[in-house]
């Protein structure tokens, strides 16, 4: 018998304006095991990607797509519950979808946070970079600034069509999510004994921030 695996279950949101390619990115990433089988019925409606993350760690990534509901103000709140990370996607060929990015950021920040009260890590995806002729091309270097100023954990130029940078973006987000989780443990001062109701509070060995299903 090998060492027991640590499993992280992470709910990740994929948001952004209508038509920026959220669904295509998810499909690309999970290799089409998802919406190809979408039924308008009761059942699983998120995409699941299981990754081996180091020798003893498995990450189960639940990707939640909000496609089709972008226009319903508060609808997003339903889907945000218990999320521990997010991608905000915009379309590099359409400036208006980039202008909407701060709005999506506000939406996430106001409706979801980690148990520690910290905001969830968010990665910005500049999608459809394969179609980039002019558009925002010259502005892309400035995204570093933009991300720092707006509290993004990072950004990637992606193309669902050419399968560019999607894996990298996901890895970056996972790193941030796992760091957050470990952070909540390590920051605890070993000299301080926390009062507990019973002898010992049950501590789940899984990602404490993640949704439990």
């Amino acid at each position: 018998m090998g060492t027991p695996l640590t499993e992280h279950l992470c709910k990740v949101l994929v948001v952004g304006d209508l038509g920026v390619g959220k669904t295509s990115i998810i499909q690309r990433y999970v290799h089409k095991v998802y919406s190809q089988h979408y039924r308008a019925t009761i059942g699983v409606d998120f995409a699941l990607k299981v990754l081996k993350w180091g020798p003893e760690t498995v990450v189960r990534l639940q990707l939640w797509d909000i496609a089709g509901q972008e226009r319903f103000g508060n609808m997003t709140r339903l889907y945000y519950r218990d999320a521990v990370g997010a991608f905000i996607v915009f379309d590099v060929t359409r400036a208006s979808t980039f202008e909407a990015v701060p709005r999506w950021k506000d939406d996430l920040d106001s409706k979801v946070s980690l148990h520690s009260g910290k905001p969830i890590p968010i990665i910005l995806l500049a999608n459809k970079c394969d179609q980039l002729l002019e558009g925002l091309g010259t502005d892309l270097p400035r995204l570093d600034h933009f991300c720092r100023d707006n509290g993004f954990s990072g950004w990637f130029e992606t193309s669902a069509k050419d399968n560019l940078n999607i894996e990298e973006a996901a890895s970056c987000l996972i790193k941030n999510m796992i760091a957050n989780e470990e952070g909540t443990d390590s920051k605890r001062d070993p000299n301080v004994v926390l009062p507990t109701l019973k002898n010992k509070t049950l501590k789940n060995s899984n990602c404490s921030n993640c949704a439990k299903f």
């Binding site: 295509s24 919406s35 019925t41 009761i42 409606d45 319903f72 709140r77």
Partner: protein, 469 residues
């Protein structure tokens, strides 16, 4: 005999197609041409003529029975293609709320000085056409652009080939005509920011049940005006279907948002905590009535309003709620749970019988995922499985409306046309009618013209001013 059977089947299919697409077929010259030719062909064959006659007669009979109308059905002649439409004249096509693709609608376009240009233009006019019309009427002043702006001041310059821009506006969005250099100084019209004073005093005089009845009546007008195919056009991209409009669906979507922001606005503009708790209780009761009336769309809209961060954070107000109301609210919240693809909602709606107004955002989600997640062509063949899944979803809309809805409020207060909403209400309030009808008319005017704040930041600010933590 074989060919007769085939022909009979074709007639049946076409007749179903006409029933389903009715008014849309009537607008399409090539479809009319086909029906004309077919009628000619059928009239030469007495056996086929009889088949068609029977079919039309049956359809008509079913419809009159549904409507509880006992008048004798007139005899139908199969000659011109008019007879194809004989049975669809009632119902949807008579709904004064329907916006048709070739209709003209009043566009309101603002200038940077907030003067308003009100013009009648085709619902599907392109930005280019709107601009040319404005230039012809008011003269061309330099490099003008058409801009869409929301209440938060976010501006989008509209591309010249975009169509149907007016009917796709969001709740407090407006169109502005300005010169390119004015763009950055353009600020939202004061009306876009929404009201400064709540209407809790008006709401005090309307029972939550009356409010629910009238909201549902109005919703039925809007819901009935949507043609099922609009859902498909909306998801596949309206620009691909030149002779159609999705204006009715978009209006219904806008209404959903209007109702949710209305709830949040009223709560956030109610300064006195006792009154605010009363209002909260009233909205929970309203949600209960809407659910009972099987108006799930507005039920969800009210619940979304109540669960808006600006409202849900008002803990001191929520504490004042009677236990009963809080319990009711918690029960409703379970219906909102999206896990297992909205399992609780799907189970709940499956138990209901029509007429039902379904939760429209979920339809859009379903059709979006079915469309984006499945290829339309597989090895150059049409993916029929995908089409069937979409058809099945769209059929649900048909099923929800398969029983005629009987309005809950007095009929005379309802306007006859979308365009004279306000005047109709004015007439009925002035005439000598009973107090109940008059107050019903006031309620109608109130629910049709809701004034709301749709800027989430502003709502949150108001909420913090009410209860700082």
């Amino acid at each position: 005999m074989y060919s007769f059977n085939k022909r009979q089947k074709i007639l049946r299919l076409i007749s179903q197609w006409v029933t389903l697409y009715g008014r849309l077929v009537q607008m399409d010259p090539s479809a009319l041409n086909l029906l004309e030719k077919l009628s000619d062909f059928v009239s030469k064959d007495p056996r086929l003529s009889n088949v068609l006659k029977d079919q039309l007669q049956d359809r008509r009979k079913i419809r009159t029975m549904e409507n509880g109308n006992t008048n004798v059905t007139p005899h139908i002649k199969v000659r011109s293609c008019g007879s194809w439409f004989a049975s669809i004249e009632d119902g949807v096509s008579n709904n004064a709320y329907v916006i048709r693709a070739q209709d003209k609608v009043p566009y309101e376009i603002y200038r940077s000085d907030y003067s308003c240009l009100s013009i009648m233009l085709p619902v599907n006019a392109s930005v280019q056409e709107v601009m040319s019309f404005l230039a012809a009427k008011y003269g061309n002043k330099g490099d003008q652009i058409l801009v869409k702006m929301n209440s938060a001041g976010e501006r989008v310059c509209l591309k010249l080939d975009t169509t149907g821009v007016y009917t796709s506006l969001g709740v407090n969005e407006r169109l502005f005509l300005c010169n390119a250099h004015e763009l950055n100084t353009l600020a939202p019209h004061p009306d876009q920011l929404g009201p400064n004073i709540g209407t809790s005093e008006i709401l005090d005089f309307i029972s939550s049940k009356d409010l629910a009845c009238q909201l549902t009546d109005y919703d039925w007008n809007l819901f009935n005006s949507i043609h099922q195919v609009e859902l498909i056009h909306y998801i596949f991209g309206q620009q691909k279907f030149k002779n159609s409009t999705t204006a009715n669906l978009e209006r219904f979507i806008r209404r959903f948002n209007e109702v949710q922001y209305w709830v949040a606005t009223e709560i956030c503009l109610c300064h006195e905590i006792g009154k605010r708790a009363q209002l909260l209780k009233k909205f929970i009761k309203l949600a209960a009535h809407l659910k009972e009336q099987k108006n799930l769309n507005s039920f969800f809209a009210v619940m979304f309003g109540l669960s808006n961060t600006a409202v849900s954070r008002l803990t001191r107000t929520w504490e004042r709620l009677p236990h009963k109301s809080r319990k009711l609210y918690c029960g409703f919240e379970r219906l909102l749970d999206p896990s297992w693809n909205h399992r609780s909602y799907r189970l709940a709606i499956a138990k209901l019988s029509p007429p039902i107004i379904p939760f429209i955002p979920l339809f859009l989600k379903d059709v979006t995922f079915l469309h984006e997640g499945n290829r339309t062509l597989v090895e150059n063949l049409i993916n029929f499985e995908k089409m069937r899944m979409i058809a099945k979803t769209v059929q649900m809309i048909h099923c929800c409306r398969s029983q005629t809805y009987v309005p809950l409020s007095p009929s005379r207060i309802r306007p006859h046309s979308v365009l004279d909403d306000s005047s109709a209400v004015r007439i009925s309030t002035c005439s000598e009618q009973s107090l109940t009808t008059r107050s019903a008319a006031t309620t109608w005017a109130y629910i049709v013209q809701m004034k709301v704040i749709d800027n989430q930041k502003k709502l949150c600010q108001l909420s913090r001013d009410l209860e700082s933590s």
